[in-house]
Symmetry: D3
Subunit: 285 residues, 6 copies
């Protein structure tokens, strides 16, 4: 799989990396390396996957080394979205040894976390590849990393739901109660939202669907339904709206969900609970 479009400008990327470096380097810098390694010592090291997975955000890892100090060059040996085996080298950094060590942890923290997101996403994508269903993330992201985690989802072959509360309308139970019913909620939204905004409605029961469609919903989210119910909902909707499945979907259940005919399957844990992909930095002799 080729890499999807990276969402940050070069400057925004650097700001993200610099904030993380500041956490690690503080005001005293890397005491250990400064005290044990000569100022002009040179080295070459590679980041190597310890476990199989899907890569995301090699560019961030690369910048972590460059921004950690003076005098290093970095070469990507793989690309975002790429599948790696245990032992695959993914990035080479060479130059000032102090700088390499000052950037190491920050580079690995980003790369491990975001590749973890991509790797979990990819498992779900593979599990539904015999259907036309898309795997999609949610707004359940790690604070500060939304844009990057959503990019990592794309690296894993998934798609993105809303980036925030401002780029789409998603009417849930509390909105429906406040607006006195599905139809009224959707109609209010349609009357006042801009014409580029899609309107999605979350339904708990199949009998809410018709009024949502009648009021003009663009997307129907089936919340916590079992696959047979979803299949009936898909039949009922019959192409009049995009159908999204959501709620408690696991790697074990996702294929059945996809086979119900839904268009989109959204999963929160690929961003909020994906374990790190295990990667390490090896110095070369």
């Amino acid at each position: 799989m080729s890499a999807p479009e990276f969402p940050l400008t070069p400057t925004a990327l650097d700001q993200t990396v610099l904030a993380a470096l500041a956490e690690d380097l503080g005001v005293a810098g890397d005491l250990t390396s400064n005290l044990t390694i000569a100022e002009d010592a040179q080295a070459t090291a590679t980041i190597v996957a310890r476990k199989p997975g899907v890569l995301s955000s090699l560019a961030i890892a690369a910048r972590a080394f460059v921004l950690a100090g003076e005098g290093v060059t970095v070469k990507a040996l793989n690309s975002d979205g790429g599948l790696v085996e245990a032992g695959t080298a993914v990035l080479e950094v060479s130059g000032n040894a102090r700088t390499i060590l000052a950037g190491e942890r920050t580079a690995l923290n980003f790369l491990g976390h975001l590749s973890g997101v991509a790797s979990e996403t990819r498992k779900l994508v593979d599990a539904v590849s015999h259907t036309s269903a898309r795997i999609c993330c949610t707004r359940k992201t790690t604070p500060g990393l939304r844009a990057l985690e959503k990019y990592a989802v794309r690296c894993g072959g998934g798609f993105n739901h809303r980036f925030g509360l401002g780029d789409g309308v998603l009417i849930k139970d509390n909105h429906i109660i406040a607006a006195d019913g599905v139809a009224a909620a959707v109609e209010n939204a349609k009357a006042k939202a801009g014409h580029m905004v899609k309107i999605e409605v979350e339904v708990d029961h199949i009998d809410q669907i018709e009024s949502a469609l009648g009021a003009g919903a663009d997307v129907i989210m089936l919340d916590n339904m079992d696959p047979p119910t979803m299949a009936r909902a898909v039949q009922l909707i019959a192409g009049r709206a995009v159908v999204e499945a959501s709620g408690s979907i696991t790697l074990g259940t996702v294929a059945a969900v996809a086979e119900s005919g839904v268009d989109v399957i959204s999963v929160g844990w690929i961003t909020h609970s994906a374990p790190c992909l295990d990667l390490g930095l090896d110095f070369q002799d």
Copy 2:
């Protein structure tokens, strides 16, 4: 367990929350609530644990609601470090309904992630409670969240290793190679580091220990050793330095590691791979 000291000033806490709110609210705000809920609608809601775990960072969740808009008040119903069961209400927010919904996801993203870290930590702490070993985190943290994840570790009963590269010396294999041996590396560091800085040395083989101690190491890290080897190392060190175990330690192996007599067990995955604690926001009728 009572709550440990929260590390951030009120202002630093707010800056962290505001950055996360900005990710979610963007420049357009919460379209859905603004379009479907009356400006002055009032509500009361509680954050409820869906699964058992240990809480961390209720204060952050509380501020997420307050900073999301006008007119809400928040009451903590539990405290950081507290054990909760599925169904336990942990925080109540009441007031302007739009503000509650604008803050919901940010509050839950912080609280879920950090309580997840506390919960995983607590499992390890409980598993070694028959020994005097401490559970300790590493610098393998999520970029942007280091201070908070380290606090979450304390909420789970764990201890913190270094906060960054500047508050302690940890000499690893690459430093030893660069400095031409364990003894030289430790001596260099001791000669130049401030007198408030502790010096730890990572050893792969038991025969590196004596020269580390001879050069004045304060802490010996046993890297990826099996418990019997660790027990021999503990005997050899005999109280001359703190002993830390590190590398590939799981919930299944941690008790045996602790029983080897080490003082500290450091575990990276409690910060980088802890799954979210499942929590949700329920509106009250």
Copy 3:
């Protein structure tokens, strides 16, 4: 007209105001008032419209006074979206005289500019009120003020197009050329965009419409067409997509454009070239 939802959190609002105050107060503060007015002098002043118009962003003007120093209270005498005549008082500020004067220019610069945007918008809205067409803004906004100018458009009764390049797809001539035709461009976008993203296509010629619709465009923008051509386009589209008119539309031509049957009329100059609404600060005896 009642005020639309204000888009900024209280903190984001303050940051915007503080940046503007910093421009005016610099590091030396308000030399004139500090040198000529007693530290504890008190006063009451009102912001008064010198010309008729529509108000926007009274809350910003209010904060400019409060954040300029100590000891003032502010009372809004009108509300955003409100029509005012020459001589209407819209905001009262009382307390420390130095603070009032330190905040004056910043308050008026925001209020005058944003009320100017609202006022121009309202003229267009009134001119098409006999039709169902909406007046809509563009991304041609003043750098730094996009969220506020889009809010001002809503205060004037208009609607918002995209807030930025990330919350909607708008395929223009250069994209069409790059993608080898309208159909291919729309299909590409549909295949890869998230399911909450609407796809709009700008067409220069009426014969591009059918392929855009066929590929699934949600919105068709008619670029620089005359009203009779637009009417034919509306007939051709026949409700299969939202129709937006764009390009060189003035207060003189907007009614004819609206009468062609288009759904949305987008106008750049209401944000980039609206003259300030003339307002002044009058001290009371």
Copy 4:
């Protein structure tokens, strides 16, 4: 006219551009281009004036493209302060097509607004060129853009009044009331202000002039007087202070004001109400 000195350091310029790019690109980036244009597509485009005017801030437009992404080069085809006709190409950008499109709107929003300010200023400057009067701006600027709008005024041949409240004393009616008279106000200011600070006094009536001069005012501002009254004031002042005219001056009245003999004519609307200069980006075949 050759370009005046640009006021921002390269870094300050970049920060201004980046903030504007962030408004437009958000966290999702340029969806349309990313979905419809190949990652490595190349193009060349020029910014072309659609109407005649005076340029300001080509350097900002250039940086908007460079900072929007990777791989573009920019060449200025004209210079700040330069007069352009409809059809004049002013800047060429070539390289990565996605980057060009990501930077387009930000570049045009800055260049159009600031060239609009320069163009309006130039009209006034030309109207008074048969006199020695200078055209000067005020602090009635767009929040966030003060330094740039003041530069644009210089590009149009105008001069700058104070940059903020801290670089000069301007005593107005409210200060005079608070200080119990013109003489007391000026004396207070002279006694306490630094020796590099000039003191200007706004007078509504010709009979306030003598006491302002007697107390040592450096500049007299004639507020909202008609040209014959101004001429009498100029005679009365007789070179003892700089004379500035202010208030309700238009392109139609400015020549008569200048002919009254005043030294400086300050005009608020050249910064707060100047319409954009119409410019567009044309791709080359």
Copy 5:
């Protein structure tokens, strides 16, 4: 002496204090207090002068305590510009003991440094009080503290020179060389500077004065002259410009300089080399 006007808005003051607190508290907070003092321990403490001097910036010290944590109140016992003896209590803080200790060092670092500047200034002011000469600071300030150090100079009875390179013209030797002579340099500046900008010329030799005055200089700076030469220069200038003495002036020489008849004496070391005023925090039983 009563306090001069404080130059910062409340928000700018807080930002300055927060940056300093962040240096001291880092991401780990005040380890010592958190580990040895109960979370709810209460205390009252006073800041007491250990040596005599002049106070500056009590408001900053007060905010350092308030922003360091929760639950303290602060009462100023003296005011900026006030003379204190050894033993004088200047500020009382009471409430949460951890917060008091977390803010202590930041409060004292600001208050000691800025009171040191005020105290040195006051010695010079007292030394020339039998003349009409003013003591004035320069741009030789500590990076990051310019506005505050200039305020401290005013607290000591001194006056401020330019705040930066943008609020006044000061033509020195290198400008004169570049412009081909004093007259040309001053004329250039006068022709292009705004009408609110004063023009000062630094002269090394008495024979440069006449051409500076002829070209319209507002202020003449006598650089490194001895008092008799200064007296001759004052006679020559004869009120046609303000006269400023500069260069190598000490507490021992300042009276003689003042007696030469100059208007202003500028001294760099009152900002860049003033020793701290010694102050300490005493807890009350």
Copy 6:
């Protein structure tokens, strides 16, 4: 003496320099140079020491010129930690004359202040060079400059104490009172602090030492004792902890303190009250 490790990343260094440049350049830029020197004038200048001392932070001075504008190159002629005589050239800058002058004051303000800290430190270091005692700084630093002043101390041959409240425990009188005695305070801290944190106890009386040692203190600070008392304390401690002398130590007394046998001598005034090293910028013909 060779230069110690510089603590800031290149980006952090630039941010520090840019903030200082912003103070000096404001929004109007360097009026004088822009008005008197041609845009393309070239020059070469050197920073020259006017007095003997020890250099610190040449890299900051160099960046001040580079970041002040376009078109200059800088060459260090000496290095941090280097001893200079009056007349020694330490840095050469050549290129655009306006840029050189725009950066001059910022470069000199940093270099003078930090070299002043290094120079005072070096005097103390030399005074104790016949002993094994180290000279060490405190947290009494200038707000905003802690990392740089601590680096300057290292340039002068000194060592650093804690960088902030989070990288070490230092138990003082108030903590001891709050914790009910020395032993309890140290035991509390040891029980809860991380294993990389050293614990220091400040003692006023020699009879507090034994209980501090008994509870496990790593460092004993002797507060305001005379050298004979210190010598007895050193004997008593007998290598069981590091011994630090603190309080009212001057250049005149430091040798006697060192001869008492203490390991570390901490001195606040080397950071908070060091006078600037006098340096100037000389243009070359």
